[in-house]
Amino acid sequence: MNLERVEQIIETYGRDRMNSLPILEDIQREFNYLPRQALELVAKRLGMPQGHVYQLATFFKAFTLSPKGEHQCKVCLGTACHVKGGALILETLEKELKVKAGATTADGKFSIEGVRCLGACALAPIIVIDNQPLGQITADAAVQKIRELAAPKTAPSPAPAPAPASKPAAAVPKRGVDMSAVPPR
């Protein structure tokens, strides 16, 4: 890993204990997690015991000690999202990716987590995939989005052709209903 970058981050803020949080935040942003060597270096440069740096790294939610996936999917579990079914979306995505919230898929492609309030409550339920907010989303649409990202990047076919047989579309909701039987709204 690039310890030089860590040195740079520390120097931008200055070797003051007060700067420990912003330094760790920048490291998290840079590497997508807090590598052990980086924490050790921060402790050394700021003159803090390693235990204190570890305490910070584990107390605050913004930090993780293990690498996150290539695509990060955050499902908002704020109150407004909760009453509008945020938990169900998270559950559905857990099933889809076959990992629990907070974990990363074995291929390192996706990490998924439930987060507390993204501050976009009027768009509830909302999820954020790779910093792109997707408001008023359904569990189905979230799964679709994940599948789009999971699909190998080939030239996008203009018309949504029928899914290739190689990809079992087990739970893709294919809705068949005769709309003529539906009473008008």
């Binding site: 003051d16 204990r17 007060m18 700067n19 420990s20 949080l21 912003p22 760790l24 935040e25 204190h52 305490q55 910070l56 107390f59 605050f60 939610k61 913004a62 930090f63 579990l77 704020g78 109150t79 407004a80 909760h82 009453v83 509008k84 079914g85 169900l88 559950e91 559905t92 987060v115 507390r116 309030c117 993204l118 501050g119 976009a120 409550c121 009027a122 768009l123 509830a124 907010p133 997707l134 408001g135 359904t138 569990a139 189905d140 739970a171 909701p173 294919k174 809705r175 068949g176 209903v177 005769d178 039987a181 539906v182 009473p183 709204r185």
Partner: protein, 628 residues
Amino acid sequence: MADLHRADVLVSCRHGRTPELVTALRDEIERRGLAEEIRVVETGCSGFCSVGPVITVRPEGHFYASVQPADVPELVEETLVKGRFVQRLAYKEAAGRKAITRYEDLPFYAKQMRIVLRNCGMIDPRSIDEYIAVGGYEALGKVLTSMTPDEVIAEIKKSGLRGRGGAGFHAGRKWEATRRAKGDIKYVIANGDEGDPGAFMDRALMEGDPHAIIEGMIIASYAVGSHQGYIYVRDEYPLAVENLTLAIQAAREYGLLGEDILGSGHSFDIRIVRGAGAFVCGESSALMQSLEGKVGEPRAKHVHATDRGLFDRPSCLNNVETLANVPQIILNGADWFASIGTERSKGTKAFCLVGKVRNPGLIEVPMGMTLKQIVNDIGGGPPKFRKVKAVQTGGPSGGCIPASMLDIPVDYESLTEAGSMMGSGGMIVLDDRTCMVDISRYFLEFLKEESCGKCAPCREGIKRMLEILVAMTNGTAKAGDLERLETLAKTVQTASLCGLGKSAPNPVLSTIRYFREEYEQHIKDGYCASGACRELTAYVIVDEKCKGCGLCIKVCPQEGISGEQKQPHYIDQAVCIKCGACYDVCRLDAIKIVPKAAVSLGGNGGNGHGTPAATPAKDKPGAAKGKA
């Protein structure tokens, strides 16, 4: 200085597809050679989130709702070239489908009173010139040139401004205490660590009008005698950090921050500190610990922060919304501010009106307005077919106010009396599809994770309370659990160290107070009438009411509903995930929520009543299998 333009196109809403919309607008205006005449401005949140992205065209005041990038060519052609209104993009009121074309005529804003949010959605938050053009920094000039610090404090005290972060402490008294405290170095801190789930007022304010906060802070620094300020912002709000950073830079360039501000001899500067995601850091002593680069654990408050706060020096901590009120009070006078609101709660309060309402959004109302007015007149009432059951205020520290009490006025005392609290301004409307036991469980789960763990009553008490609530929501609760829960709640309330623990039982106690029978139903009958506790719930179709329209088949994400056209449908209990989509969509009231214990899972997925044998099995050809 800003150039003159013939028209301004204000685009608000920073979520979703707005960036594409702005690019499309700029490209189209450029293509038509209008870039010199027309300016596209990205404003902060205008609050009317349900119809976003919204566009306001000034000076005409044309208001367009839910604009998509594809609408841009028509909008530019009609409105900006020919000066006509595009009816198709008008906001239509739910009742009567009346089109409303002007911003001023929107019912959503009619009952509001915008003091703190006056610039949100109206100006470019990244331009200090625009802020100055609407009267910004005028109050600062007045303070620095014609008022003594004591006069400023007297004015704020007289206005009756109270803390907007939740507890409602008088801002003027806090300033006075900090001024009187011994010490040469004092700090002014703005709390923008908005951690309450269901609240985003502070985000909107920091993103949409950062200079108002900075101006309030400079005035506070002059009043208390401080030369260094901090704004503590949630790390989850990158745009707020960005806009505040730009605003601070611009203020420095204009000589409004730094040495000898406006030649007054007063010096003050501000630093932004990002929080790292800990709810407890909204608590004042924890926030200061975190500012020092330590773990955000609160401390006992034998000594006030105004005497010994950050780095053990006198510190004046105010919420960003409180500070944004200050310039207006100075400009318009304490008497003007005190004339708004109720006897003991003055001014306005920003709320995030969200949950089960038609028009969720960011609002600001005078104190004393009733909850009913807010929910019905501004929020447009609950969605179709639903009823309001309760309104939750105060976030995890607040409580639920039942529908029968929605006539109470919104002020600090009334909400506290009703077992909730003002809090920072989250207002979540709950309908009959929300379970109050589940809401309690939800908040305690949140608080369990966010408890810093320093004191035992909070750390252990919340965990035990949560265990009981989980048991209630999954059907394993025992008789006596409700009483145990109450006892625990009272202990946690009395014995915890800081505000987080002391208020943690509020969601539980307030829901027990108003919805006790719902708790009892969960324990005794294993039944959740709202269907929110999925482990207790089954959805069944009432044969007599079902007309076989197929709507539920269409929405079921599990393909778990089947049935012939115009024949009663069936829900396959084995695959049902209890999402309730069918229940919400049924217009004939044909889907019923029953206790899970009442349905059988046998056979090929019975309906729980009627004859499972008649149910078309999944592998049999039927109407439901009519896939393309």
